[in-house]
Symmetry: C2
Subunit: 528 residues, 2 copies
């Protein structure tokens, strides 16, 4: 709680902070306001890992400045050598522990010399400088060692099914069976912590800086029409089922109708379509919805969100992100999620070849919309060049295998893809239309009248966020007119609008214009 004195002091510092910024002639505008607190926060708040426990330090913390201090560490035995020293590990790092050799500490020597690898140990001792020449510059704690005075084996470890070292390849099945051992590796620890921190910074941006409200929506929901990929959950009433929703789409739209104005949720979603390496039956998305917003508003929000939360140790990301229409993406990259880290665009060379006498070329060009396209591959290592979009990526892989650095794995190329078609012909019956994304997507304002005359030509207000060739987010401005929503469902999609009557009715009771986005695979891609 804020005591009077503390609150007063905070206000003083607040003023000092403003003054410093004014000296640097950074004006106090909302834009500044938006970016400043994050800077302060990331510098000011360093987690304190030793609160509420009796350890004095973590195993990654001790430096020369601690020499002479009595410390208590808790950790796992990484390895032990000949009863002389052992290395203790926790989530933050490694510390070398010197096992005492004198008679007075024979009990400590006995304990530590016989503790199996990965046993859990408490050690109390004195921080000392390592003898000259024995420092380890590769180890953050490599200047010191701890001379053990007392020790306790808190839990002994039986023989491991595999070694807990990052460079040791384990079978996937073994890693899954002993997931808790796998988690002790530096890589998985760091992935979990990176995810937690990044989501925390996203929350700060949305909640603290921009007034978004974190609302948890139910996951035991009624079935969505056409939601074939939903898990069903039998209820206590015979023959009645809940379903686990694929996204909180309907809930977040209803929250906008409820006047919430700015909603977000780190939302658990479910999709019953079997597991794949990049797709799991349950997954999480950063789910966002705003009232009174247009496409550009959502795009600036997301660019700011990613800049704010991007890990400091990764390559900087520049905003605004470039934007490309769906049509351009298909024409130049043969896909709606282009990897823009490298060129090799698809080019139309029909005009060049139109005068040639190559028979199959002339034949292809003779059809309506007939064209001949090509990709220019630098240093033509590959002789086969017979397809487009997917081939471009395949060629990149081949070129990289041959030693050409095409796609920088540390670069992050974000791209907006916009102006998707609102409807697509159904795969099974091309005379009927289905939503390119979902039936709540609003038509492009320039094409609104086409909705009633030629719906196949209507572009939507859907936008995808693409990162290095992966779709990492997608959203749209939604339909907020009950009449337009009913027309889309009944007349264009030929669906029974009754199953969505609760949503359509909500639109009739003063639904604000609104739109949103969901960020999905982003966190997955960031992990190393």
């Amino acid at each position: 709680m804020i005591t009077g004195t503390r609150a007063k002091l905070s206000v003083i510092v607040l003023q000092a902070f403003f003054q410093l910024f004014q000296v640097e002639s950074v004006s106090f505008t909302p834009a500044w306001w938006v970016s400043a607190p994050c800077v302060f926060q990331s510098w000011f708040v360093k987690p304190y890992f030793n609160s509420f426990v009796t350890r004095t330090n973590t195993c990654g913390e001790l430096r020369s400045a601690h020499v002479g201090q009595k410390v208590t560490l808790y950790g796992w035995v990484q390895y032990q050598r000949q009863g002389l020293f052992l290395v203790l590990r926790d989530f933050q790092g490694l510390t070398q522990i010197i096992i005492p050799q004198d008679e007075a500490h024979s009990h400590v020597k006995e304990l530590l010399s016989n503790a199996p690898v990965e046993s859990v140990v408490r050690v109390t001792g004195i921080v000392s400088s390592r003898p000259l020449g024995q420092e380890n510059p590769k180890m953050p704690t490599g200047d010191i060692e701890v001379k053990a005075e007392t020790a306790e084996i808190l839990n002994s470890c039986k023989k491991l099914p595999f070694e807990i070292k990052d460079f040791i390849k384990k079978s996937e099945a073994l890693r899954m069976q002993y997931r808790y051992l796998d988690l002790r590796s530096f890589r998985l620890q760091s992935n979990l912590r990176l995810r937690s921190q990044m989501v925390m910074r996203m929350r700060e941006y949305l909640c603290n800086l921009h007034g978004f409200v974190d609302v948890e929506t139910p996951t035991l929901f009624k079935r969505t029409p056409g939601g074939a990929k939903e898990f069903l959950v039998p209820s206590r009433e015979a023959g009645k089922f809940y379903s686990l929703p694929q996204s909180p789409q309907q809930f977040k739209q209803l929250l906008m109708v409820g006047g919430l104005d700015r909603y977000f949720q780190v939302a658990r979603c479910y999709r019953d379509e079997g597991s794949r390496p990049d797709r799991q039956p349950e997954f999480t998305q950063i789910d966002i919805e705003m009232s009174f917003v247009d496409r550009a508003g959502i795009q600036r929000l997301i660019e700011g969100l990613l800049q704010h939360s991007w890990p400091e140790e990764r390559a900087l990301i520049m905003t605004p992100f470039p934007s490309m229409t769906y049509e351009e993406a298909l024409a130049e990259y043969g896909t709606d999620k282009p990897d823009t880290r490298f060129g090799m665009k698809i080019m139309d060379i029909g005009d060049v070849l139109r005068g040639s006498d190559i028979h199959f070329v002339q034949n292809a060009l003779s059809y309506p919309h007939g064209s001949i396209k090509a990709i220019c591959i630098p240093q033509g290592v590959v002789s086969d060049c017979s397809a487009l979009g997917a081939l471009r990526l395949f060629s990149a892989s081949l070129l990289e295998a041959a030693g050409l650095a095409l796609r920088d794995p540390t670069a992050f190329h974000f791209l907006w893809v916009v102006d998707f078609p609102l409807f697509l012909p159904k795969a099974k019956n091309p005379t009927e239309l289905e939503s390119a994304h979902h039936p709540f997507t609003a038509p492009h304002p320039s094409d609104a009248s086409l909705l009633y005359s030629d719906p196949t030509k209507v572009r939507s207000q859907h936008y995808d966020l693409v990162l290095n060739g992966n779709e990492v987010g997608g959203g749209s401005i939604r339909i907020h007119s009950a009449e337009q929503q009913r027309f889309v469902l009944e007349k264009v999609l030929k669906e029974d609008s009754e199953v969505l009557s609760h949503l359509i009715e909500a639109l009739e009771f003063g639904a604000p214009p609104h739109g949103g986005i969901a960020l999905g695979k982003l966190l997955f891609l960031l992990n190393s």
Copy 2:
């Protein structure tokens, strides 16, 4: 992203902040570190609600200082009077809009005079002082009004099923059917926002200040033995089911074995036992687990967490919270979740009556452990006084109905209840034992040897957090020895330990001592 200059400035301010505290002779200890950043943060970060949209202000924002400014507001028509003015509402408040009466603005007058209540409107106009004597001191924006210049009806509202006013009582069924209209009320808006802010501050405390890692654990899980109240989810494999877990208990223990050290999650949990006003099939708990911690450590953590996140407008909460043993709670309050806002404790008056010649008293006292107990009720309004624990609460209700202020509804009396029994006789078969809480609870260190000789006498390391007579949290120090866990399951509880073999095996691979807690009903109780 942090630019060099900003980072440097932040460091300067950081030093200034320390110096201020040193002047006030508050030493720089971990305890201070823990509480200081929150103070700064709550003063520094104010959400900016108008980013990414074209409104200049919310409807709760304008004051005399804004007079003369041209503003754009978006909101819902709260009411409209005779074509002269209307009140516009959004999530932040109300603003009075003056409808122009001159010919040049006849279109605006036409629009605004005919907009049905709860229609969504954009208004641009000039902020003006209200005429002298027409200010409304009850309204935060009551000093000003906005003279509309342009307006747009963004969505018209059809006739409402009920008025959106807090004082109008609606039937529960109608409120649920039109939940999005109910959400527009001040009370529900404020509840949702309070919850979001409080959880955000909890996250700051856990993640930013104390290094807890937010880990999302799966909800499609295998069935827990004895988990009769779990929802089942059919998988794609015939005859195989997932279950939706009642808590992430097993996952968080495995994360500790994985060396995560400090875990938290705002965790969705499921319990298939039908709906009740204070219990729903899905609910959320603040789920916490730590390694190398004892009961006192968890208690101090939670006290700090609640102080940090407690809404500023509610009564202060004092720490440390008082603590009471299970035995004391039952003896003095007749319940393991005492409401300590009022006295009326149960007293043993056996000794006083032992010398009396009242037959039934003597009879009761003649049994082994026989006793006579009483409650002292002030100003004895109630003549019937025939039962204990529940009666105490019932008496309090009766006394309050008779006008006696016993339980302050604005007071928050937290209480730890500790030293629960580890096992209880099964209700259906009292010769067998079941876990008082769950089979992973560690025995009290003083009673550890009793586990093998007389398990009925063993107290546990379980702790409950009680607020005003409601259990709002519970947790324990867990068993971290595989041998002890196997003994409890097989020898005491007579259960098949095979179904928990994954957990027992994990304890064999260097599981650290660990414990945790889950806070459940807290948020529910805070809502007004």
